[in-house]
């Protein structure tokens, strides 16, 4: 019988629950033990391959979540560990990567769009439509008022300098391309990312 590490975990989880370890050569003594042990939770979890969000070693990670991906199934990440197949980290994680689960479920994760009005000392929950409509209005008004089509010499320059954008350091390349397209179509030059730090 050939078993991978993952297969072993899955099989042992399943067989513990079904009360026999004999298939794996443990003999009959496992039965009583299995009665008292809960099934290994990861055996039933969905495994997803991902990359640590912190430094650029880019350790491979395995994320375990409940839920089968169905539209109305509630998914919940319950465990993250190093990917043993990854050629750089080979399963290891550092003190930051080992604690990824805590950042995914941090109480500091933002839940809803919020808005702080001028002079106010608090955030108020708003709808996405309110937020995005208002942002677009503010941006367009600023762009229309301050867009520079020609410089003092009369040369075509088509730039917008009074609004700017900082892009991220952990967003995907795909997010990056879309962001570039949008920011430059607006004519933005005050545009940078965290590589500058």
């Amino acid at each position: 019988m050939t078993l991978t590490r993952r297969g072993f975990i899955k099989l042992s989880g399943a067989t513990l629950a079904s009360s026999s370890l004999s298939a794996m050569g443990f003999g009959g003594c496992g039965a009583a033990l299995a009665e008292s042990v809960r099934p290994f939770k990861l055996a039933a979890a969905k495994e997803t391959r991902n990359t640590c969000t912190y430094c650029s070693v880019a350790c491979g990670i395995l994320i375990y979540a409940s839920g089968d991906g169905a539209k109305n199934a509630h998914s919940n990440i319950m465990h993250i560990e190093g990917d043993p197949d990854h050629p750089v980290n080979r399963g290891t994680l550092c003190p930051k990567g080992s604690a990824l689960l805590d950042v995914v479920h941090s109480p500091g994760r933002l839940q809803v769009p919020k808005y702080r009005a001028p002079g106010s000392n608090e955030f108020k929950e708003v709808t996405w439509d309110f937020a995005l409509d208002r942002i677009a209005r503010l941006m367009k008004d600023d762009r229309d008022k301050n867009f520079i089509a020609k410089n003092e010499k009369g040369e075509t320059v088509n730039r917008w300098l009074t609004s700017g954008m900082l892009a991220a350091s952990a967003s995907s390349n795909e997010t990056a391309l879309l962001t570039w397209k949008v920011a430059r179509a607006f004519g933005m030059l005050v545009f940078d990312n965290q590589a500058r730090v």
């Binding site: 997803t48 391959r49 991902n50 990359t51 430094c55 650029s56 994320i63 993250i80 050629p87 750089v88 994680l93 930051k96 604690a99 950042v103 995914v104 941090s106 933002l110 839940q111 809803v112 769009p113 001028p118 002079g119 000392n121 995005l132 942002i135 677009a136 503010l138 941006m139 367009k140 600023d142 229309d144 867009f147 040369e155 320059v157 088509n158 300098l161 009074t162 609004s163 700017g164 900082l166 892009a167 991220a168 350091s169 952990a170 967003s171 390349n173 990056a176 391309l177 879309l178 962001t179 949008v182 430059r184 607006f186 030059l189 545009f191 940078d192 965290q194 590589a195 500058r196 730090v197």
Partner: protein, 811 residues
């Protein structure tokens, strides 16, 4: 990185200088340990602090922050003086033999062409002497005193061991021992790798720090070989990718550059981007620039980019200054010149220097949009959090939007690691509550803006109305579609020279060699072409096979460019095409083509006898000791003191700091002097934390709960500061009250005959998250950047420290 993480195991010497990989990149650092155990490699650490990297080093030498160029220029002098260089490599693969134009000179700290009013150089003479065909003149015998090698020798002559020691505070014997270890890799089959990070970039001379080590590596023949290279250990998971995709003020994806005011037409723009070869037979691969640019514009604007309208050249904004970087942006903000700002996963109130100035700037905005998975300080800059964020919300008119986004675990896509690997990752779960992806949010803003321009008209709506947006789900384009868009596709049938069809219209491109400048191809980021082809998503590959176990893994994910894992790998073989190190070849010439374990960084069938240089992106085909006009602050690196320094510049007191640095007057007024702030401050990360994110993660907040500084025993005794006691650390710009960790890891250094103390300031605390509240290291740091990149000078500044009472109720 020129090489891969695993390739570090092939090194004979590993030098960690300007970084602390054991703590900041722990799982990559294990390849250093592998090299020590399996390859008997020597680990050398040069750092102001005895870091955990130093604790496992074979040799450690201290250095004063901000003096790396002096140290490494001394190393160059040592290698030349002892003649411990790899001669054949230097002659064939560097510009050592080329002759520099008359008129170029260096005197008393300044290169020729300096303009003291503009703080910049006229770089006209920073060139080679050209012959009548426009090729650089050469003297292979190195007799001509204007040969690069001779000018370099002359330039570094001032960096004697005594001078290095006086500037850097490194004892002479330790410095010379490091020189010896480095020099041991001048043999063709020995390699040294340089691992560095923000310890080099975060200086007003940051880019030149890195250049100096690159010059050392070239003298030793350590670039392009297994176990060699210049390996920038990038700090964030996709900071490489965001740079590759050009999210910088002056960049277009794939390291193309934005047009300037004076480049009014596309022809003007291309005129300065010809990349005509500077030596016969050279590839000078940037000659294909036009193909990359036209293909990019076709991605952006599709049918609206035509030959007739110069490929929609006018749709791109033009720059009137070199760049609108972040320091410039906040300078504009405090002067009321910026009304709106969007922060996408970026927390400038913590990340940018002179926190009080950042807060002042944000307070003047009309609107601020923050997109982030976490509750950042920036989104709450208006809140009054006592000494940690003093503010009066009633007086701040800024409208603030705090938009919740997905995190890494809740999206598909690619990140580029430090070794240029594009690794696909998959969504594991739905985001919390109403959080949305950045893609959804950007698309939402774009669609609303486009609709407003359709309805109302307004300023130059063309690029907005004509931006390509052919996504299956326009509200939230998929990562796959965007990845395909970066790879690029044929817009018409693509034929080879014989007329045979290579690709049909609509098919994904295989390589950037297929790009055309006639509008028949498109590619959103030419260096990524080959990552998502008709064969599928190459970035999602997971083959761990590693030929000869040499750390290449060519079937794991995909590396730019062209799935090449070791850059400049042509230089791993000698002029005839035989490997310098027969035990660890990368590619070699088999008589008809280049073969080996990696994709050749070279034409696959170019015969070595053709004399094509291995540095195919450079117009002369060689690497450069003399950087021509590519750097703003000189073709050779020169030691300049940090903007705030405890000593005068011993080499040229009249030119104390980088003369080409851009310093805004109000920022200069905020520089302190050693009379008031006698100690050198330097910032860094702890291994338990990642910037300002992990204080939101409970385990990390428990591991390192509280803001502190590191201070040496000698200074602590002098000042009456006890371990775990409270201190007040101040600079000209602000102060923090925090705990002191009295340590043996930092010792005073003798600089110019004077004991100089260094204080370490870890940077992880702020006023949101689960750790204790802190001021943040950027309350102290000066607002000035590297002259070339504008990366802020976080690694060397002046502070004072005094014992203090803690906050009320704290012990």
């Amino acid at each position: 990185m020129t090489n891969t993480w695993q390739d570090i195991k092939n090194a004979n010497v590993i030098i960690v200088m300007g970084g602390n990989a054991a703590e900041a990149h722990p799982c990559g650092f294990k390849w250093v340990i592998e090299a020590k155990i399996e390859n008997a490699a020597k680990l050398v650490v040069v750092d102001p602090r005895f870091t955990r990297t130093a604790s496992v080093a074979d040799y450690y030498a201290p250095i004063r922050p901000g003096t790396d160029i002096a140290f490494l220029s001394g190393v160059i002098r040592y290698l030349l003086e002892k003649d411990q260089i790899q001669h054949e490599y230097v002659r064939a693969y560097t510009n050592a033999s080329l002759i520099v134009k008359e008129g170029f000179s260096f005197k008393d700290g300044l290169f020729s062409g300096y303009n003291a009013e503009t703080h910049s150089y006229d770089k006209t003479d920073w060139q080679y002497e050209l012959d009548d065909q426009g090729f650089a003149k050469i003297d292979d015998t190195w007799q001509n005193p204007r040969c690069v090698i001779n000018l370099m020798r002359q330039h570094v002559d001032r960096y004697t061991p005594e001078m290095v020691s006086r500037i850097c505070g490194t004892p002479i014997d330790k410095y010379l021992h490091v020189c010896q270890l480095i020099a041991s890799t001048c043999l063709p089959d020995k390699a040294m790798t340089s691992l560095f990070a923000l310890g080099w970039t975060q200086h007003s001379i940051g880019s030149q720090n890195i250049r100096t080590m690159a010059m050392v590596q070239l003298l030793l023949g350590n670039i392009g070989v297994a176990g060699g290279g210049m390996n920038a250990l990038r700090g964030h998971s996709n900071i490489q990718g965001l740079t590759d995709v050009g999210l910088l003020s002056n960049q277009i994806p794939g390291y193309l550059t934005m047009p300037k005011d004076q480049e009014q037409t596309f022809d003007d723009y291309m005129e300065t981007r010809q990349f005509k070869p500077l030596r016969p037979n050279q590839m000078s691969y940037w000659q294909n620039y036009r193909k990359f640019f036209v293909s990019f514009q076709k991605t952006m604007f599709g049918d609206a980019a035509t030959a007739e309208n110069n490929w929609a050249y006018d749709y791109l904004p033009k720059l009137d200054i070199p760049m609108y970087d972040i320091i410039k942006a906040f300078e504009m903000m405090v002067h009321g010149e910026i009304n709106g700002y969007i922060c996408q996963g970026f927390n400038p109130l913590q990340a940018f220097p002179e926190k009080n100035k950042i807060r002042r700037g944000l307070s003047k905005l009309r609107y601020l949009v923050v997109m982030d998975p976490l509750d950042t300080e920036t989104s709450r800059f208006w809140e009054d959090v006592g000494p940690f964020n003093p503010s009066d919300p009633a007086k701040i008119e800024t409208e603030v939007f705090q938009l919740p986004t997905t995190c890494f675990a809740e999206e598909d896509g690619t990140l580029v690691n430090s070794a240029r690997w594009l690794q696909w990752h998959w969504k594991a779960a739905e985001p919390p509550a109403k959080a949305q992806s950045d893609i959804w949010i950007m698309a939402g803003i774009f669609h609303r803006m486009r609709e407003l321009y359709r309805k109302e008209g307004g300023a130059f709506p063309d690029p907005i109305l004509k931006l390509t947006w052919n996504y299956t789900n326009p509200v939230e384009p998929s990562a796959d579609e965007l990845a395909k868009e970066m790879n690029g596709k044929a817009r018409a049938d693509i034929k080879d020279d014989s007329g045979a069809i290579l690709l049909k219209a609509g098919q994904q491109l295989d390589s950037f060699g297929q790009l055309r400048d006639d509008g028949t191809t498109e590619s959103g980021c030419w260096i990524f072409t080959g990552s998502y082809t008709e064969k599928g998503n190459m970035m999602a590959r997971r083959d761990t096979h590693d030929p000869r176990d040499q750390g290449i893994t060519p079937g794991w994910a995909w590396a730019w460019p062209a799935n090449r894992r070791i850059l400049y790998n042509r230089a791993s073989a000698d002029v005839a095409g035989n490997p310098w190190n027969p035990a660890k070849p990368i590619i070699q010439w088999n008589g008809s083509r280049w073969v080996g374990i990696d994709v050749p960084d070279y034409g696959p069938t170019i015969n070595p006898s053709e004399g094509v240089g291995p540095f195919i992106m450079n117009a002369e085909g060689t690497s450069r000791f003399f950087a021509l006009d590519q750097m703003v602050d000189g073709p050779f690196p020169e030691h300049y003191e940090p903007m705030e320094s405890p000593v005068e510049n011993l080499l040229h007191p009249k030119v104390q700091n980088n003369p080409a640095a851009r310093v805004f007057p109000d920022d200069r007024a905020d520089f302190g002097t050693s009379a008031d702030f006698p100690y050198v401050g330097t910032t860094y990360r702890l291994t338990e934390h990642f910037h300002y994110w992990t204080k939101h993660a409970l385990i990390n907040a428990i591991l390192q709960p509280q803001e502190f500084i590191e201070i040496g025993e000698v200074l602590a005794n002098e000042k009456g500061i006890a371990n775990n006691g409270w201190v007040r650390v101040s600079s000209k710009r602000g102060y923090m009250i925090c705990k002191a960790m009295v340590t043996k890891r930092i010792k005073p250094m003798m600089v110019a005959g004077k004991a100089t103390h260094v204080i370490g300031v870890p940077l992880h605390w702020g006023f949101t998250g689960q750790a204790k509240k802190g001021y943040g290291a950027n309350i102290l740091t000066p607002s000035v950047g590297d002259a070339n990149t504008q990366t802020p000078e976080f690694k060397a500044f002046l502070v004072n420290v005094e014992p203090s009472n803690g906050p009320e109720g704290e012990v």
